[in-house]
C-alpha cells in the first residue's frame, strides 16, 4: 500500500489554477524530490497534502485512509509533518518548548519527550540553543529548527519545503545526511531549488510546471529531460 | 478606654465625588458640611462633637461596598448618610444591613430599592421618584380639556420606569390618552423619539429621564419645530436649563424637591446660612443633605449614639425638616416629602403652587 496517494487534485485561486489535476504517490521509505519553477504549485500541493487548504477536486489518501477533508491537525496526528517555506516558529517560546508543543502522531507517543527533542535538536546542530527563544535564531537556524519540529511529530510522511535554503554547502551536507537518516522511518518529499545538491539523493524526482506534473523518474532521467531543462534547469552550472 | 464627652460621634458618608454622579455629590457634601458646622457650633449633640468621615466611591457599587465596610468596621461610625443612585445605595445597604448600622438614603429617589427586598436599617430620606410626573399631571387636570394626548418619555432605568407606570395609571384615571416612549440609558440620538411623539399627536410631553438626555430631547424638539401645548421635564428647575436653552426655556415645567426660592421659614434660614458659607444659592441636593442631617441629629439627641435606637427613631418619627415633613411608610419608603411644580417664566424658575397661575400654553420656540 502506498504511503500517500493524491489523485487528480486541483486548487484554484481566483482564475489561477495553482494545482491543476496532479496525481502524486509516495511509497513508504521513499525520498521524492519535487522540483519546478517558481509558482509551479509545489507549496500549494504541500498545503493540500498537509491540510492547510482543501482541494477543489481530487482525493488524498494517506496510509489507505481518505484524508481529503481532514483538518490539518488530524493529518499531523496521523503522521503527516511538514516544514514551511517561510519559517513559522512560535517566536515567544523557547526552541525546546516549540518541540514540546508538538502532538506526536498517534501510536508514536514517547514517554520522554524532552530527550527526544534534545536528540532531534542535536541532529540539526541546535542543541546548544534549546533554551533560547525561537525569535532570537537566525533564519538559517530556523530552517533547520523547522525540520526538527516536523520530526518531533514522529511522522510517516514528512514534507520539506526548501530545507537547504539559506545553508552553506557544509550545512547543507549535514542536513542532507539527516534527511537520509529519516528515510528509514518515514517517506520524505522534498521541494528544493538547489538541484545540484538535492537531486542526487532522491530515489525519484517529480517536476511540476504551472500546476501540472511535467516529468518524473530517476535523477538521471530528470536531469536530461529536455522539457525540464527548458522550463526549469537551464544550462547553468547550478542546474547541472 | 471608656467613651468620654470629648470623643466625637462618628458619622460616615460614601459619596460619588468622581465618576458619573459627581456633580450632585458635591452639592450633597456641601449640605452635610453646613449641617455639621451648625451642630458643632451649638456644642455638638448631647455635648459631644460630631465628626463626618467622607469617602469617594467613584460612582462604583463595589467600591461603595468596600468603603461602607471601612466606615463601619475601621472608622466605627454609628450611622451612615447615604450615597447617590440606586445601584450604589443598594450595595451600601447590603453592608449596612449586615453590620446593623442605620443609613439614611439622603438622595435616593428610587423607591424600588425598598420594594425588591426587605431592608431594616436603610430608609428613604428623599421624595420618591414615583411621583415625578404628579405636579405636571395636576396642571393638566386644572387646565381642563386643553390636553387630549399625553406623551411620557422615560429612561429604561428603575426610577424612571416606576414614575412612568404611576403616571400612566394616573393619566388613565384622568381620562387622558397617554403613550410612553422609552429610550436606553446612554442614548445619543433622540430624533426618532421626537418623530414618534409627533406621529402620536401628543399635545403634552413629560420627560422623566436624567438631565443630559432631557436637554438633548428638548433641543431636538426645538430643531424639529415641534411645539407641544405643555412640556415638562423633571430636572428642568435646575439653573443649567437656562444656560442650555436660553429663551426657549420659557414655559417649561419642572419638578423640584426643594428650591431656594421657597418662602417657608426653615428654607429661608437654610438658604441664608448656605449663602453665607458657600457664597451662592443652594440646590435641592444640599437641602436634602441638610434635611438628612436634621433627622439624624434628632435621632441621636433622642437615643444617644446607639445604633438600634437611631434606627428605630428614623424609621418611625414624623418631623419637620427643610424639605418638608419627614415620614416613612412601613416599608421605610418616604411618604412625607413631595415634589413641587416649577416653571420657567421670564428667565426665572418659579415655584407654581397654584396650577391656575401657570403660564399656559407654552410659548412657541423662538
Amino acid at each position: 500500500m502506498s504511503c500517500l496517494e493524491a489523485a487528480g487534485v486541483r486548487k484554484r485561486f481566483g482564475g489561477l489554477h495553482a494545482v491543476d489535476g496532479v496525481d502524486f504517490t509516495v511509497e513508504p521509505g521513499e525520498l521524492v524530490g519535487l522540483f519546478g519553477p517558481n509558482g509551479a504549485g509545489k507549496t500549494t500541493l504541500f498545503n493540500l497534502i498537509a491540510g492547510a487548504y482543501y482541494p477543489d477536486a481530487g482525493t488524498i489518501r494517506f496510509g489507505g485512509d481518505d484524508v481529503t477533508r481532514f483538518p490539518a491537525f488530524r493529518r499531523a496526528r496521523l503522521g503527516i509533518a511538514r516544514t514551511f517555506q517561510v519559517v513559522r516558529p512560535f517566536r515567544a517560546l523557547s526552541i525546546m518548548e516549540n518541540l514540546l508543543a508538538v502532538v506526536a502522531s498517534e501510536g508514536a507517543l514517547s514517554r520522554t519527550p524532552e530527550q527526544d527533542a534534545l536528540q532531534l535538536l542535536a541532529g540539526v546542530g541546535l542543541a546548544d540553543r534549546a533554551n533560547d527563544p525561537a525569535g532570537s535564531l537566525t533564519l538559517g537556524m530556523l530552517k533547520r529548527f523547522e525540520v526538527a519540529r516536523a520530526l518531533m511529530v514522529q511522522p510517516r510522511l514528512i514534507l520539506l519545503d526548501e530545507p537547504l535554503a539559506g545553508l552553506t554547502d557544509g550545512e547543507s551536507a549535514m542536513m542532507l545526511r539527516l534527511i537520509e537518516s529519516v528515510k528509514v522511518r518515514a517517506a520524505v518529499v522534498m521541494v528544493e531549488h538547489n538541484v545540484r545538491l538535492a537531486l542526487p539523493l532522491c530515489d525519484r524526482a517529480v517536476v511540476m510546471e504551472q500546476g501540472r506534473v511535467i516529468a518524473q523518474g530517476t535523477p538521471a532521467q530528470i536531469r536530461s529531460d529536455p522539457a525540464v531543462i527548458h522550463a526549469y534547469l537551464g544550462d547553468t552550472p547550478e542546474g547541472g | 478606654r471608656p467613651v468620654t464627652a470629648a470623643d466625637p460621634i462618628k458619622i460616615g458618608a460614601a459619596l460619588s465625588l468622581t465618576g458619573r454622579f459627581s456633580d450632585s455629590a458635591k452639592y450633597v457634601q456641601e449640605g452635610y458640611q453646613l449641617w455639621l458646622q451648625e451642630v458643632n457650633a451649638h456644642g455638638g449633640i448631647n455635648g459631644r462633637p460630631v465628626q463626618l468621615i467622607t469617602y469617594d466611591d467613584e460612582s462604583n457599587p463595589d467600591t461603595a461596598a468596600v468603603l461602607t465596610e471601612r466606615l463601619i468596621s475601621r472608622d466605627g461610625v454609628v450611622a451612615i448618610l447615604g450615597p447617590y443612585s440606586s445601584p450604589i445605595t443598594d450595595a451600601a445597604a447590603t453592608v449596612a444591613e449586615r453590620a446593623g448600622v442605620p443609613m439614611l438614603g439622603t438622595i435616593a429617589s428610587d423607591s424600588s430599592i425598598w420594594e425588591r427586598r426587605k431592608l431594616h436599617w436603610t430608609v428613604q430620606a428623599f421624595p420618591s421618584s414615583t411621583y415625578d410626573h404628579e405636579g405636571f399631571l395636576k396642571v393638566i387636570a386644572s387646565k381642563g380639556k386643553a390636553i387630549k394626548h399625553l406623551a411620557i418619555v422615560y429612561e429604561e432605568s428603575p426610577f424612571s420606569i416606576g414614575a412612568k407606570n404611576w403616571a400612566m395609571e394616573e393619566a388613565k384615571k384622568m381620562g387622558l390618552s397617554a403613550e410612553a416612549f422609552g429610550y436606553a440609558p446612554g442614548s445619543q440620538d433622540f430624533s426618532s423619539i421626537v418623530e414618534r411623539i409627533i406621529s402620536s399627536k401628543a399635545d403634552a410631553v413629560s420627560m422623566g429621564g436624567y438631565y443630559q438626555p432631557s436637554i438633548a430631547l428638548t433641543r431636538k424638539m426645538i430643531e424639529r419645530g415641534y411645539n407641544p401645548v405643555a412640556y415638562h421635564f423633571i430636572q428642568a428647575a435646575d439653573g443649567v436649563t437656562k444656560t442650555a436653552l436660553a429663551g426657549d426655556a420659557s414655559g417649561i415645567f419642572g419638578r423640584s424637591a426643594w428650591e431656594s426660592t421657597f418662602t417657608d421659614s426653615a428654607s429661608k434660614t437654610f438658604t441664608a446660612a448656605y449663602k453665607a458659607k458657600f457664597n451662592r444659592l443652594p440646590s435641592y441636593h444640599s437641602a436634602a443633605a441638610y434635611a438628612a442631617g436634621q433627622v439624624l441629629e434628632a435621632a441621636i439627641k433622642a437615643k444617644g449614639p446607639d445604633k438600634n435606637g437611631i434606627r428605630d427613631f428614623i424609621a418611625t418619627t414624623t418631623m419637620p425638616t427643610v424639605l418638608g415633613t419627614y415620614k416613612l411608610n412601613s416599608k421605610l419608603q418616604q411618604e412625607g416629602y413631595r415634589y413641587t411644580l416649577t416653571q420657567w417664566v421670564s428667565g426665572e424658575s418659579k415655584v407654581i403652587r397654584d396650577p391656575a397661575q401657570a403660564l399656559w400654553p407654552k410659548p412657541a420656540w423662538k
Binding site: - | 429610550y183 440620538d189 426618532s192 418623530e195 438631565y211 426645538i222 424639529r224 436660553a246
Partner: protein, 288 residues
C-alpha cells in the same frame, strides 16, 4: 413619504457625526494597527475647549471647530511622541491597555478640572428650515456640513497617493517601510495627530448639539467601534459608509420599534456581520 425623508435626514445627521468619530479611529488603526481607547477622551477635550471658548469669549461655537482641531492636533502630537510611539511593534494587548490607561487618566483629569457637572451653552445657529415638508434644524445642518467638509478633507489627505501609500506600508511592516524611504515616525505622528484633531472636532460639534460632561466622549466611543468594525477595521471609506448605514438603520429602527430594541438589533446585526464577514462588510475588498 415626508416621514421617510424626515427619518432619512435625521439618520444622516446622526450618521455623519458617527462617521467622524469612526474616521479618527480607522485612521489610527489603519496606520498603526492601534485600537485607541482614549479616542473618546479626545472628543471630550474638543467639547470642553469649545465650551470654554464660547462661554469666556462669547464667540460663535463655530469657532470651536478650528480651535479644537488645532488643540487636538497639538495634544495628539504630544501624546504620540510621549506614549504611542513607544508602543510600535508591541503586541496588540499592550497597546490596547496603554490607550485604555490613557483614557482613565483623561477621564480623571476632566473630572478634576470640571467636576461631573453638565456644561452647556445656547449660542450658535438656531431655528430650522422646511423643505418639502421635511424640517431640519440649522444646528443639524451645521453638523452635517461640518462633517462632510472635515471628512472630505481627511479622505483627500489619505487618498493622496503618497501619503496613503506610506500610511498603509507603515501599517504592514514598519521596518520594510523605513527601508523603502518612508518616514515612519512622521507618518505615525501625522496620522495620530490628525486623528485626535478629528476627535476634537467631533467634540466641538457634540458640545454644540448636546451637553458636555467628563465622559461625553466615552459614550460615543463604543458606537464608533461598532462602525469601524462593520466598515472593516482600518478601512476609511468602509467606516464612512458603515456610519451612514448605521445612522439610517438606527433612525428607522428606533422609529418603528423603539430605541433600545433598535440598539439590540444593531448589536445583533453587528455580531452576525462580524461572524460572517470578519473583515467587515466592505473590508474584504480592501484586504486583497
Amino acid at each position: 413619504m415626508t416621514l421617510i425623508l424626515q427619518l432619512a435626514i435625521n439618520g444622516l445627521v446622526f450618521g455623519s457625526l458617527l462617521g467622524l468619530v469612526a474616521l479618527g479611529l480607522a485612521l489610527v488603526f489603519g496606520v498603526m494597527r492601534l485600537v485607541n481607547f482614549a479616542h473618546g477622551e479626545f472628543i471630550t477635550l474638543g467639547a470642553y475647549a469649545t465650551y470654554l471658548l464660547v462661554t469666556t469669549t462669547g464667540v460663535s461655537p463655530l469657532w470651536g471647530i478650528p480651535i479644537a482641531a488645532l488643540l487636538g492636533a497639538t495634544i495628539g502630537l504630544a501624546v504620540q511622541m510621549l506614549v504611542i510611539s513607544r508602543l510600535a511593534g508591541r503586541p496588540e494587548l499592550e497597546a490596547l491597555m496603554a490607550t485604555y490607561a490613557l483614557s482613565i487618566v483623561g477621564l480623571g483629569l476632566f473630572a478634576l478640572a470640571f467636576g461631573g457637572d453638565f456644561r452647556t451653552y445656547s449660542a450658535g445657529p438656531a431655528g430650522n428650515v422646511t423643505l418639502a415638508g421635511v424640517v431640519v434644524g440649522w444646528r443639524s445642518i451645521t453638523v452635517l456640513v461640518a462633517c462632510v467638509i472635515v471628512g472630505a478633507a481627511t479622505l483627500a489627505l489619505v487618498s493622496r497617493a503618497r501619503t496613503g501609500l506610506g500610511f498603509r506600508a507603515v501599517a504592514q511592516n514598519r521596518e520594510a517601510a523605513a527601508a523603502c524611504g518612508v518616514n515612519v515616525v512622521a507618518s505615525e505622528r501625522l496620522a495620530f495627530s490628525v486623528s485626535v484633531a478629528l476627535a476634537a472636532i467631533c467634540g466641538a460639534l457634540i458640545s454644540f448639539i448636546g451637553t458636555t460632561t467628563p465622559n461625553v466622549g466615552h459614550e460615543w466611543l463604543l458606537d464608533g467601534f461598532v462602525v469601524v468594525i462593520v466598515g472593516g477595521l482600518g478601512s476609511i471609506s468602509g467606516a464612512l459608509v458603515a456610519a451612514l448605514a448605521i445612522g439610517l438603520l438606527h433612525s428607522f429602527a428606533s422609529y418603528f420599534l423603539d430605541d433600545s430594541w433598535a440598539q439590540i438589533m444593531t448589536y445583533v446585526l453587528l455580531y452576525v456581520a462580524l461572524l460572517v464577514r470578519p473583515h467587515g462588510l466592505l473590508g474584504a475588498r480592501s484586504a486583497t
